[in-house]
Amino acid sequence: MSIVTVQLGQCGNQVGQELFEVISNDANDTQRKVYSECSSERFFNETANRELVARSVLIDMEPKVISQSIAKAAKFGKWRYGDRSHFSQKQGSGNNWANGYCVHGPRHEEVVMDIVRREVENCDRLAGIMAMMSVAGGTGSGVGTYVTQCLRDAYPNSFILNHLTWPYGTGEVIVQNYNSVLTLSHLYQLSDAILVHENDTVHKICAQLMNIKHISFSDVNKVIAHQLGSVLQPALTGDSHGVYNRNPIGELMSSLVCHPEYKLLSVCNIPQVSSSSMAYSMFTWPGLLKHLRQMLIANAKMEEGIDWQVRAPSLQPEGIERTRSHRRPGFNTSLANLLILRGKDVNNAEISGFQDPSLYTPWLPADEAFSMWKTPVPFNKYEKSAILVSNSQTLLRPLDNMVGKAWNMFASRAYIHQYTKFGISEEDFLDSFTSLEQVISSYNQL
């Protein structure tokens, strides 16, 4: 089964290109034929001349980034984008969500959906669609939201995963919080699951774990691509009987998104080191998993600077309702977790630490809250890697900050005229704020 990716705006296209690069390298690297073929089928279409063409649609409102992405992809001759799989215009969306959603989206709907349809028809069976975009600008966020709506209408029975990149907190675009709030509130109704990467977090990984001195967006994008690739590459699920999982997006959703109020997913990956250190590193499963578990409960996004003081609350005897006062400060409660193990000796890994009911909210039984996939095939040159996809309170604070800043700005009505002139009213803003406060409240209650 195959995944069709839709890359939207500058960020979506840049990260998307890096993702296909990682996947192609990983699949080419391995000696395991079945893994390789499964990965290829999932992400690429093989043409009559044995060329690998990415199952991807590239959309942007200005041409520069798409041309660069297409050129970069073709550079090494291992894979490329389809010749007619892209769409761009001459002038961007001006960092304006309303311009993207109300003007560009509808204007180009037919052409865009045609390209998507062609890509979907190229798949023997569609596993799901993944839309990739940022939330800070105008095209990825605004056009991206509109396109997601069109995808939902056109493919009501397919799984739709939105991969979002959240901007640096200190700002790249002044109206980024408005654009983010509008995007998230709409996607919450349209999307099946929302997988988030934050630039601030990834930047720290680059700085502290990978020792990159002058961090560029290219560095950030490579880390995101690595993490996303490690989730989507083939793996064996509990009941797949030795066959690689057919539908990673569907399985992701059934494992992690059991309730429509809780759709925000984050990714944690260990180890993450610079390529120069890799040769000298020796990792054991117990070491990796111990760190990963603590990263989960203490809300740390990387192996350094973990707060080991944070502990899971002690288990209450059965029958006693676990109340919030039993929660320790700084403790990150999960709704559900998916652990993916890739590499050597994967069957010897001891994972019971992740099945501990005290990690989870009480209203979901622990055996439903935890799932695991694994494969003995190592990912992207790491002999062993452990990935945690989490539906937990991790994104609660960043989301709350984003909404808080947007709300402060909205209270003075600053910049609102830029949105109303394209058709987004104050009412629309209020609706969006209300939806997100609801989401924040729900996650707070976990």
């Binding site: 520069k64 002038q91 961007g92 001006g94 002044i174 967006f217």
Partner: protein
């Protein structure tokens, strides 16, 4: 690729515009040149004729020029109403023709001065026409404000009448004051003549120099006009050339204008020059960021650090990385008061191509309440004349001009000043966060 149309009106507008085209010819790429169209308007022949006889004549064809002979006599009403209606069709035609040459027209740049008759009166009439005929295209106006010792007696009337049009019909205004330009020119000349070791300025690198442009020997206002021309060249280049964080012209208005009328963006350019001695240690980069916020580098007489920032854009050119940008913002942030609802109100762009003669440069556009004193002074000068009804009959005689134009204009200026005052009042107060929505659980 998108295009822009540069419309220069009046004597000052055309002189600055000429310096702009001159610099553009010498310094920029074919790509940039092909993205720009020109329209030249003047009601007396002197300046435009000079252009037609000079080396720039190859650049323009006669259809792009709209001229008359007798000028506006420093009378806004004559420029706006008399010439405005007489030349309306011709101007619209010319604008349409320039627009047709554009595959994807993104922006109009209007250049004019405020104190005279043509640039001020006809210029603002053109602004209105731009809004009527091309409502979706961004209008960025560069306005040269008169200095205190302006020798045109009626410049306060002309400026205030023009201000109202700018407030209502422009998307962004980049105000420039003659006095600031004079101060910068003097500063550079002083520097280059100081004879201090290591203070030799690299040839053609100063923003007042014509950079060896085609027009040859420099004329009196050239140094000052070069600064404004450099400003425009910088803006158009930053948006045109690639970098790791592209900034488009329509993103400027979107991010810097939180309320429609408050669209006056104070420009500052650094560096003013490059020293010729390459052995001078390069603390230049961080110094460049610091300078961008000093009052010596602003193009109006204002001190943004002591007023309130509503928003700020930094357009960096040259070999500068994201990490340098973020480091400097972190360093300068504590010294710069930002309005409570926009504490992180920075819009940034990184363009990899530096201007000629420099390894890097920075253009800052600040939406800051420091424009208020300039506007208040304007209002004071206006009131002095208006109280005595001095020279008003010259205006009221003009067909289309009424007393109401004066009262409405001064009222518009007063309410603009009031809007800035209200924001200023929040400056040193600790504003509480707005109470969040309460969700029933």
């Amino acid at each position: 690729m998108t295009q822009s149309v540069v419309v220069q009106v009046g004597q000052c507008g055309n002189q600055v515009g000429c310096r702009f085209w001159d610099l553009a010819l010498v310094n920029s790429s074919d790509e940039l040149m092909s993205s720009l169209q020109a329209v030249l308007v003047d009601m007396e022949e002197g300046v435009v004729n000079e252009i037609l006889q000079g080396p720039l004549r190859e650049l323009f064809d006669s259809t792009q020029l709209i001229t008359d002979v007798s000028g506006s006599g420093n009378n806004w009403a004559v420029g706006h109403w008399t010439y405005g209606s007489a030349y309306r069709e011709q101007i619209v035609d010319q604008l349409r023709r320039a627009a047709e040459h554009c595959d994807c027209l993104q922006c109009f740049f209007l250049i004019h001065s405020m104190g005279g008759g043509t640039g001020s009166g006809l210029g603002t009439c053109v602004l209105k026409l731009l809004e009527e005929e091309f409502p979706e295209v961004c209008r960025i106006v560069t306005s040269v404000y008169p200095s205190a010792e302006d020798d045109v007696v009626t410049s306060p009337y002309n400026s205030v009448l023009a201000m109202r049009e700018l407030t209502e019909h422009a998307d962004c205004v980049l105000p420039v004051e003659n006095q600031s330009l004079v101060d910068i020119v003097n500063k550079i000349k002083h520097m280059s003549h100081s004879g201090k070791p290591g203070s030799v300025i690299k040839k053609d690198s100063a923003i007042i120099s014509g950079q060896g442009g085609v027009s040859g020997a420099e004329k009196p206002f050239d140094a000052m006009n070069n600064i404004v021309a450099n400003l425009l060249l910088n803006i158009t280049s930053s948006a045109r050339f690639e970098g790791s964080l592209n900034m488009d012209l329509n993103e400027i208005a979107m991010n810097l204008v939180p309320f429609p009328r408050l669209h006056y963006l104070v420009p500052s350019l650094t560096p003013l020059y490059t020293l010729a001695d390459v052995n001078i240690p390069t603390r230049r980069l961080d110094q460049m960021f610091t300078d961008a916020f000093s009052k010596d580098h602003q193009l109006i007489r204002a001190d943004p650090k002591h007023s309130l920032y509503l928003a700020c854009a930094l357009m960096v050119r040259g070999n500068v990385q994201v990490s340098d940008l973020r480091r400097n913002i972190e360093r300068l942030k504590p010294m710069l008061p930002f309005v409570s609802w926009n504490q992180e109100g920075w819009k940034t762009g990184l363009c990899s191509v530096p201007p000629v003669g420099h390894s890097h440069s920075l253009l800052a556009l600040a939406n800051n309440t420091c424009v208020k004193p300039t506007f208040m002074e304007l209002r004071d000068h206006f009131t002095k004349l208006y109280r005595k009804k001095a020279h008003m009959h010259h205006y009221l005689h003009v067909d289309g001009m009424e007393q109401a134009c004066f009262t409405e204009a001064i009222s518009s200026l007063s309410s603009l000043i009031e809007e800035y005052s209200q924001l200023d009042a929040t400056k040193d107060r600790l504003m509480p966060d707005a109470a969040r929505l309460n969700i029933a659980t």
